[in-house]
Symmetry: C2
Subunit: 350 residues, 2 copies
Amino acid sequence: MSHHIVIIPGDGIGVEITAVARQVLEKTAAKAGLALTFEEKPAGGTAIDKMGVPLPEETLAAARQADAVLLGAVGGPAWDQVAPELRPERAILGLRKALGLYANLRPVKVSPALADYSPLKPELVAGVDILIVRELNGGIYYGEKGSEKDRAWDTEVYSAMEVERIVAVACQAAKVRRGKVTSVDKANVLATSRLWRQTAGTVAAKFTDINLDHLYVDNCAMQLVLAPRQFDVIVTSNLFGDILSDEAAVLTGSIGLLPSASIGDGTGLYEPIHGSAPDIAGRGIANPIGTVLSAAMLLRHSLGEDEAACRVEQAVEAVLKDGYRTADLYRPGFTKVSTMEMGRQILDRL
Amino acid sequence: MSHHIVIIPGDGIGVEITAVARQVLEKTAAKAGLALTFEEKPAGGTAIDKMGVPLPEETLAAARQADAVLLGAVGGPAWDQVAPELRPERAILGLRKALGLYANLRPVKVSPALADYSPLKPELVAGVDILIVRELNGGIYYGEKGSEKDRAWDTEVYSAMEVERIVAVACQAAKVRRGKVTSVDKANVLATSRLWRQTAGTVAAKFTDINLDHLYVDNCAMQLVLAPRQFDVIVTSNLFGDILSDEAAVLTGSIGLLPSASIGDGTGLYEPIHGSAPDIAGRGIANPIGTVLSAAMLLRHSLGEDEAACRVEQAVEAVLKDGYRTADLYRPGFTKVSTMEMGRQILDRL
Ligand SMILES: CC(C)[C@H](C(=O)O)[C@@H](O)C(=O)O
Ligand SMILES: CC(C)[C@H](C(=O)O)[C@@H](O)C(=O)O
């Protein structure tokens, strides 16, 4: 059986890092006897420049038909003056909605080789292994919004069904982890959060061996810094997930390494969590690992190839352990490598 | 001239810590030739138990007439089963709205004596001195909310006037600090944030020597952990301020020390940022410093007594430098003191 993958390089360093991830997918597929086909499509600022819109119809159509989408990054100051509805990030928001990607999975793991890159004291971060499950298709992102001359509003809306399905994703994930789910809300203030909290309880009760607790979002923002090891799976709304997942990501001190998966009804979308880094674009020094690990998530979640995914993850860990570092993580005593060379080192260890 | 202060001890450790702060206010007033009168009023869980409501009419009436309100803390698991509209925290939300307290000021300063209490590496936190200015009377906290059987919603609403006045508070504060204001929003997604960003620009332009920049809330959540020293004044919405101010607070590693002021149209309200700590209530070991420093903010912002405020702040810093620690901050080599003894040490240095 052959799988078709759409690659959206996007803007900035997107081209360089998706090129490496593609090579990794190709070699892994060859080893595993998987047939993969690839197709590249534009989106983001580059698409605005070429075709006038951030998410061209042909890109969306290709994504819908693909087995998975791998995305580099979109955006950059070049498009800051563009009207809000036409900004590069509309491509991301549009893909999430059009593909029904309601679950954003963001593993936050501190690689043993990089424990001392964290801004936190080493004793707090060693062993941190969190999966953030962010609702991605609802909430204040997509609720009714508007503005008049001197007034503006946004609506946070959730249905029980939307909460049920995302909490179920979190519980399912926790089953093969440490069995702990922390649901984060602001139930002392928000009506949506009260629905969230109640629904989360009902859903979690249907799973055996799942330990659910609830945290207010302000408290969670504190706990992530004070004692990140207490968390296993965190499940939360679109807006809270946006904030908390970025906060959690920097605890590792190496966001260039972190992948994400957006899954749901349609084709899954995989992208590193970092941005398009226009300042270093085209120089061949970007860190491709976040995209390579996103490709591993693609193998696992969209193609069901868990073993191949693990092989990629182990290759990355080995390269880091062997001391290879792109510029963002370079320190004296390590081996500084380019984007391509980092790719070669990973390929060699597959 | 005499000033009248309403003290709301609240729940848990509230009684113990406000007692110390009151002594500090009394001694400071005597030294400065200020006449202060005090009156204690119930609110929170204790008020629910005694009078059936979290914010009794007589408390609100007294607060309205006072020159300032000093609050300990409210809440605790004892009232977890109470209906949402009757919870202890309704007292806080009710006071904020009734008194028109639209500006929440939260200084986050790392005391030189306590730099190594931070969860962050010492080189990142030394010298951190941030003022978070949180909008406190609008946004999703007070917008229309509701729920049906399987659906719930909350509305985030801001008027230009509401944004103007809070940004003006931030700019005013920055003038006597380092002149830098960071406005935090989610303008790539929210209509309210676009109004916020635009209005912030207009307001800041009217101040000379104010350097305004804008950050997305997810990025701000990252930057606070990665490089907190970059911030001077942060101004943001009610909801974002709730999350970011708690995240910023724990960077100090000693939230027992942190004060807050809520100011606006009516009587100002001052309270420590920590909770009611029911687990240690009544044992005489709570840290009173957050409340004492809140009393200092009261002197400064509601009574215009900046010099007296500084004297209190210096006394606290001296006590910490001299090695006195309540249980929450105790470490071998320091002098462990009770709530009352900590109070005495501060009084001695006034
Ligand atoms: C670009 C932006 C709209 C997006 C979001 O807020 O979801 C980004 O911050 C993310 O987390 O993927
Ligand atoms: C108790 C709660 C309603 C309150 C808030 O969200 O404002 C608290 O978290 C705070 O920050 O003062």
